[in-house]
């Protein structure tokens, strides 16, 4: 049992480290290091521009999307090299937020299902951050129940005509392309009548309306489709096989282990180490210590769970559904941590403006962003279902609509 690199891994790490030291936008390092969930902004720069520039620089030197094949803009690296890169990239990795969906989900789906010429055209600029992609799956009627979606695609000659609405689409307002899941046959059970496409977000008939989130920010959107035309060659996978295509997309998410999920614990520990309460330092208070210890072992448990997963990766094993625990544990933990950090501030905890709040309002920002973490990419409940069914082998939920044609499923309350 050890944490040491193999000689090849060590050599790779050294090369990556040297390149990052020479090329990363150092002027933002401190600010990025201090940013946490809900507050990743740069005071004197547009973070999207800084992120795009960093991504482009990586791509030009062969450090973008490491595990992708070279001909599509990647480096052809092993999964473990990708993890090493993420470790070395450190706080600069926080600049990749806007690319996560494109790189983690859209790219791999394109790679598995797009035509060769499309892969060569679209993937390199996706890898280099010149083009940003979004994922158009969720709808008012289909979130957890993705297959309940109603956006229609109808064939018209060599084109498909799209009508309907997507929602919660992260980054749609600055995206160039998107992958889109639609219904092509409402007369068969819901999983069997779906088809996947990719499209240009500037196509006529696509309308993006930013949604103001509970946190006050606007990172996701409603997207309306009115007679949007998509050529058939932009179809991904077979007609009516979109469910299987989307499963590939979702499974690829799991490969994103290793970067480390944020739990809020290091921030809280730092805070308590310097905070003075009415009767002394917070860190010497019995109740505070107990809370901290409980979160400390969750945070370290997650850290070493991901080290175990990385070890399995380096032996060539594939990440399994057990990796769902990271988001499940971290999501509610960060929410609880933020709540507690504000509790420690007493009445002052209510002030959230960066100019007036403790620590520039980082815990307030965390608190307001945390609910989304527990919902995006599968809710806590869906994560527990995944663990129960795919790891522990318990029966699937009873699905009353499984064999019913989609257009015969009752629609009450479906938007």
């Amino acid at each position: 049992m050890n944490f040491e690199d193999t000689p090849q891994e060590a050599a790779f790490r050294a090369t990556a480290r040297a390149w990052i030291a020479a090329n990363a936008p150092k002027q933002y390092e401190e600010e990025l290091r201090k940013s946490s969930l809900g507050r990743t902004q740069l005071k004197n720069a547009n973070i999207l521009e800084v992120a795009k520039a960093w991504q482009k620089r990586k791509a030009d030197a062969g450090w973008a999307c490491l595990h992708w094949p070279k001909e599509y803009g990647g480096r052809g690296s092993s999964p473990i090299e990708r993890v090493i890169w993420q470790q070395e990239e450190g706080p600069f990795g926080k600049l990749s937020g806007m690319f996560i969906i494109g790189h983690g989900m859209c790219g791999p789906t394109m790679m598995a299902f797009a035509r060769e010429e499309h892969k060569r055209t679209y993937l390199p600029p996706l890898a280099s951050g010149e083009k940003v992609w979004c994922q158009l799956f969720s709808e008012p009627a289909g979130g957890s129940d993705v297959a309940g979606l109603r956006t229609r695609a109808e064939k018209d000659g060599d084109n498909w005509v799209i009508n309907g609405q997507k929602i919660w689409t992260s980054g749609a307002h600055y995206s160039d392309y998107g992958i889109l899941l639609t219904r092509t046959d409402p007369t068969v059970p819901k999983h069997k009548g779906l088809t996947m496409f990719f499209l240009d977000m500037k196509s006529p008939g696509v309308e993006v309306r930013p949604i103001k989130q509970a946190s006050g920010a606007s990172d996701f959107n409603e997207v309306y489709f009115t007679n949007v035309r998509i050529p058939d060659h932009q179809r991904l996978g077979e007609v009516n096989d979109g469910w299987n295509v989307s499963l590939t997309t979702l499974m690829n998410e799991r490969m994103s282990i290793g970067a480390g999920v944020s739990t809020g614990f290091p921030e809280l520990f730092d805070y308590c180490s310097s905070l003075m309460l009415d009767d002394g330092p917070a860190i010497e208070d019995r109740a505070v210590r107990s809370k901290l210890a409980n979160w400390a072992v969750k945070a370290s448990g997650l850290r070493y769970t991901s080290m175990r997963a990385i070890s399995a990766l380096s032996k060539g094993e594939r990440p399994g559904p057990e990796n769902s625990i990271g988001k499940l544990v971290a999501g509610s933990m960060i929410q609880d941590v933020a709540t507690y950090a504000l509790d420690l501030q007493g009445a002052a905890g209510v002030v959230s403006g960066p100019e007036d709040a403790e620590l520039a309002g980082r815990f307030q920002a965390m608190l307001l962003r945390a609910p989304g973490t527990r919902v995006e990419g599968g809710t806590d409940e869906i994560m527990r279902n995944i663990i129960a069914e795919r790891v522990l082998g318990l029966p699937g939920d009873i699905r009353v609509d499984k064999d019913v044609p989609f257009n015969k499923i009752p629609t009450k309350g479906r938007g």
Binding site: M1, F3, A293, K298, G301, T305, S311, N385, E389, G393
Partner: protein, 375 residues
């Protein structure tokens, strides 16, 4: 990075699992639980023959000379099987204290006897309420004898020798405590059995009355040795707790698949599924923290104190969580004496207290993290 046990170590784990599945069935555990024997002598002998008792004891002292990682995988299986033997007292506490502080003669006398299963050892630390602390030690040493009462002492009634923490100075400082070795078969100690939460591992009260004792380690070094012993034992116990958590989860899962209510397996109800998923989550976090502890223990890393406390807390919580929800999944059946759920519930809650309670280790963890951050 290879943050995992080696293939050989995994093989040893399989070997131990197979052996225990055969020799330590729930039925065998019940013989001790029902008070028909103080521990499973046959099993103890078998463990010695398999080389499990001396796995981390150097060859020159009669052990297998393998190491602590090997001991960790065996510990996990001891916990999974809920083994009714004085393994933790003898192997993690008494033997480790000897390994850390014993003279050559002391090691030669006791370690081969531990490895061969002839001698059961224990640590006599507690004196009633309270957690490990120099202040809580009143038992006094003078002129090579000990006077005072220790309780609870795990496996104290069946032990052949005890490592005893005694006061050799007058304050409450670390340096006022020294360790002693006492041969319990000499007859100088009065032993009383105590009824306890987990009868598969006995607890006793030991009364020392001018009892002859020999020093273990240098005078005044007792507390520093004890902290090392407790840290090591915390990691090893964590593996037992991880094994117990896994077993409790497995029992719950199996029952959920088997039991039908409202026309379907209860494991198809989401409330039950989610309860089991949460058990899996805590068992997994505990396992990962324990692996870190194992790494620190086996490499004698400076992180050991922090890693040990984290493993201890995480594994204690996981075992308690899995054991209590295993009963819940079993419904009324889970609350019968006949079903095995309560054995794990008992063990989980007894183990939560044995090396100092959760709140003690929470304190330790935060102190240690602060120290590390300051450094």
């Amino acid at each position: 990075m290879n943050f995992d046990f080696s293939d050989d170590q995994k093989q040893l784990r399989d070997q131990a699992r197979k052996f225990l599945a055969e020799k330590c069935s729930p039925k065998a555990v019940r013989v001790v639980l029902d008070g028909k024997a103080p521990y499973d002598k046959e099993l103890w002998k078998g463990l010695a023959e398999m080389g499990f008792l001396g796995v981390a004891i150097p060859e020159e002292f009669g052990g297998a000379g393998a190491g602590h990682l090997e001991l960790c995988v065996i510990a996990e299986e001891m916990g999974r099987a809920n083994a009714p033997v004085p393994f933790s007292s003898t192997v993690y506490l008494a033997a480790e204290a000897l390994l850390i502080a014993g003279s050559d003669a002391q090691k030669k006398k006791w370690l081969p006897a531990v490895a061969s299963g002839e001698a059961i050892g224990t640590l006599a630390l507690f004196e009633g309420k309270g957690n490990p602390s120099p202040k809580n030690i009143k038992l006094a040493a003078s002129g090579g004898t000990l006077t005072g009462v220790k309780k609870p002492v795990a496996d104290g009634a069946i032990a052949d020798f005890a490592v005893v923490a005694a006061r050799t100075g007058s304050g409450g400082r670390d340096g006022d405590i020294s360790l002693f070795l006492v041969d319990l078969k000499d007859g100088g100690v009065e032993v009383k059995n105590l009824t306890n939460l987990d009868p598969t591992r006995g607890q006793a009260e030991l009364t020392f009355n001018n009892t002859k004792a020999e020093p273990l380690g240098a005078a005044g070094e007792g507390w520093s040795i004890l902290s090392q012993v407790l840290d090591r034992a915390a990691v090893l116990c964590a593996f037992e707790q991880v094994g117990g958590s896994d077993r409790a989860l497995e029992m719950g899962r199996d029952y959920a698949l088997d039991r039908i209510a409202f026309g379907r397996p209860i494991g198809s109800f989401q409330a039950v599924k989610h309860m089991l998923a949460d058990m899996y989550v805590s068992a997994t976090l505990a396992r990962s923290n324990s692996y870190y502890g194992a790494w620190a223990l086996s490499t004698n890393a400076s992180e050991l104190p922090e890693a040990a406390a984290a493993a201890r807390i995480s594994a204690t919580q996981a075992f308690q969580h899995c054991a209590k929800n295993n009963i819940q999944v079993h419904g009324g059946m889970g609350f019968t004496w006949e079903f095995d759920c309560h054995m794990y519930y008992r063990r989980a809650n007894a183990m939560a207290l044995g090396l100092g309670s959760l709140s003690y280790w929470e304190d330790q963890l935060i102190d240690r993290m602060r120290k590390k951050n300051a450094a």
